[in-house]
């Protein structure tokens, strides 16, 4: 698996991406008083057929990253090359064409489906918008096909979202994302709102669909155990920057960045015997404001390894082991 993905051409290349949101003051004459640096210089690539996990806590910029790739935001700086074309600079027309190839699955299956639309109409909407399957009968047939593909009875097409459970709604969201036969799907916390017993069903569905249609996923999540299960490579973000990037097994077996280590240590394991023997010291402090991030390494105020140098220089990603990149000047 690893060998294949490493040789495949990159489908997506993100280079030096920055997304800053202006902060203003005053009602009439809005004065620009600063920027929320939601994404502040991010680089990564995703190869065709690969699943890249993007993990981090609230406010680390992982969702903004996904929204930039979908061009729901126009990045402040940097490039997003999708199959060689820079998404960040596309005009409206080219963007519409591109959205047939890139789709999204959102976190909340309650607010991401229109409550006044029947499920069949929700799933058919991308086809109507893009003029795919103009014949209503063939479109209905395609809706039925998508429903059964996602493990739902085709007669669900006549239901409204409120008649369904959370897991079923998320299946509808997935069916809608698949309607245009995309090659790349941004899964933004796609299983986070689901109950444990349903979460496993949806994870399996996402895996089956990936294998069946050779899909490429950007899997944005905060649940590390889900990311480890589903992804081939993982990028850890903190305060708008990628602090560590490696093959999935390498990252979880051998985390190098102090933040990744803290994050992994904080996850309790469902086994009382393991937990009783684990030495555990929660990381101190909280995530600083992205309006005024600390100078140098953004993690230094909470880091146990921090030295004077960390307060001055922002560490760049270095390849400390083969294909294992870490933005920390202290780890070796």
């Amino acid at each position: 698996m690893t060998a294949i993905t490493s040789e495949a051409a990159p489908l997506l290349q993100v280079r030096g991406l920055k997304m800053h949101f202006p902060v203003t003051e005053g009602m009439v004459a809005r004065r620009h008083i600063g920027d929320v640096k939601a994404v502040d210089g991010v680089d990564f690539t995703i190869r065709r057929g690969e699943t890249l996990g993007l993990v981090g806590e609230s406010g680390c910029g992982k969702t903004t990253m996904g929204r930039c790739i979908l061009r729901l935001e126009k990045p402040t700086a940097g490039e997003i090359l999708y199959d060689g074309v820079d998404i960040a600079r596309l005009d409206r027309r080219a963007l519409v064409a591109l959205r047939r190839r890139i789709q999204v699955i959102f976190q909340d299956p309650y607010s991401s489906l229109n409550p006044r639309q029947k499920v069949g109409s929700i799933i058919a909407e991308p086809m109507r918008v893009h003029g795919v399957e103009p014949d209503p009968n063939r479109r209905a047939a395609r809706v039925h096909e998508l429903l059964s593909l996602c493990g739902l009875n085709p007669n669900f097409a006549d239901r409204y979202p409120h008649e369904m459970s959370g897991g079923q709604r998320q299946r509808v969201g997935i069916a809608r994302a698949l309607a245009l036969n995309p090659e790349f799907i941004v899964c933004d916390e796609a299983v986070s709102a689901l109950d444990v017993s349903i979460q496993a069903q949806i994870i399996n569905l996402l895996e089956d669909l990936r294998d069946k249609f050779n899909l490429t996923y950007l899997f944005i999540a905060h649940d590390l155990s889900v990311v480890r299960h589903l992804c081939q490579r993982v990028a850890v973000m903190y305060l708008g920057r990628v602090v560590e990037l490696a093959q999935c097994d390498e990252l979880f077996d051998n985390p190098l960045h102090p933040y990744t280590r803290a994050l992994l240590a904080a996850v309790p394991v469902p086994d009382p015997t393991v937990e009783a023997t684990r030495v555990f010291q929660p990381v101190m402090g909280e995530v600083p404001s992205p309006i005024n991030p600390p100078p140098g390494c953004v993690f230094h105020p909470r880091c146990t390894l921090a030295v004077a140098e960390c307060r001055r220089t922002r560490p760049e990603l270095r390849e400390l082991r083969p294909r294992h990149w870490v933005a920390c000047s202290e780890v070796q």
């Binding site: 444990v196 394991v269 555990f280």
Partner: protein
């Protein structure tokens, strides 16, 4: 010594447009002084409604506690007058809720919200309450207490707000704290800080804790005993070690199997619980887990199984086949 809290056959119902929902359907358990008991379950299992019922915080209508006793420290909370009940809430029993932003009053300072509780329950002068508030903030690890007390909830981060909630819960020296999903809205590193804090404080002060959660890892790290709920009933209870190592109810077994784990090698595929969560308006007389259970037999449709001893000492399961499950689950895996 009698248990600190003894819940006996508690029933809570809600009248909804779709029919009567038995959100809590005959729940009994005990909490010993200083003990941490976890209540685990998924959305709609009745874990939160059960906890709110203990404190008689169920809005009526549509809800109603129809049956049951809640013996706390020798008194039945169900028979207390509203005024006596107000003294219990926030006094002998503290509460910590999931969403610290919505459970704190946005127009009062932090200090006022803490001193209000103290004045309500302990009386005394403003200066004493103020001193106690400073002391409490120190206890929950908030530095610079004098300044923080003058701030409003929106000026604090989520983790900080949850620390304030804990300070309020501890304000009057409670014997029991009920924490309903206290860390679900928080990030994982902050979740760890808050849980560690709660564990340290409850141990140090000898306060019992009921922690309601859906996170199996949190349960494993912090609970002495666990009650697993499904469709308004406790389906299994016992020590954390017994439940995780020798579960005796098919739902517990399936729940533990369905989560990806960081401490084990990656699985090729997850083993989910098939089917949908139960529709509480359409439950029949049989076991509610039956439609999703891989061990179900004809008998499961006839009557709801009672919670009976199974497996290890102090372990109980509500399943007709609980004693065969050790062998059966081994085969299925």
């Amino acid at each position: 010594m009698p248990p600190l809290l003894e819940v006996k056959d508690l029933h809570t119902e809600f009248r909804t447009g779709a029919g009567m929902v038995r959100a809590v359907d005959g729940v009994s358990y005990t909490v010993e002084p200083g003990e941490t008991v976890a209540i685990v379950g998924e959305s709609g299992s009745g874990k939160s409604v059960g906890a709110l019922s203990l404190l008689r915080l169920i809005p009526d209508p549509p809800g109603r506690i129809t049956q049951g006793q809640v013996l706390f420290d020798g008194r039945d909370l169900m028979t207390l007058s509203p005024e006596e009940m107000r003294q219990v809430r926030g006094g002998d029993i503290g509460m910590v809720f999931q969403e610290p932003m919505t459970s704190l009053n946005p127009v009062l300072t932090i200090g006022r919200q803490i001193t209000e509780t103290i004045e309500q329950h302990r009386g005394g002068d403003v200066a004493a309450a103020q001193r106690r508030a400073v002391e409490l903030l120190g206890l929950v690890g908030i530095a610079d207490a004098e300044r923080r007390l003058k701030q409003y909830p929106h000026q604090l981060s989520g983790g900080m707000r949850q620390r304030i909630m804990i300070a309020i819960a501890l304000a009057c020296g409670p014997k029991l704290i009920i924490a309903d999903e206290p860390t679900t809205a928080l990030d994982v590193t902050i979740q760890a800080q808050i849980l560690e804090l709660m564990q340290q404080l409850t141990r140090r002060l000898g306060v019992a804790l009921i922690i309601i959660t859906h996170n199996l890892g949190v349960v494993a790290r912090y609970a002495n005993r666990v009650n697993v709920m499904y469709a308004g009933r406790i389906v299994e209870s016992g020590s954390a070690a017994a439940l995780y190592h020798t579960p005796r109810h098919p739902y517990t077994i399936a729940l533990l199997r369905s989560v990806p784990r960081l401490d084990r090698p990656r699985q090729a595929r997850l083993d989910p619980i098939e089917g949908q969560p139960p529709d509480l308006t359409r439950l029949d007389g049989g076991c509610a887990f039956r439609p999703r259970c891989r061990f179900a037999v004809a008998r499961c449709a006839e009557a709801k199984p009672a919670l009976l001893p199974a497996g290890a000492a102090g372990q109980f399961a509500a399943c007709y086949r609980s004693n065969e499950l050790g062998a059966l689950a081994g085969e299925a895996a």
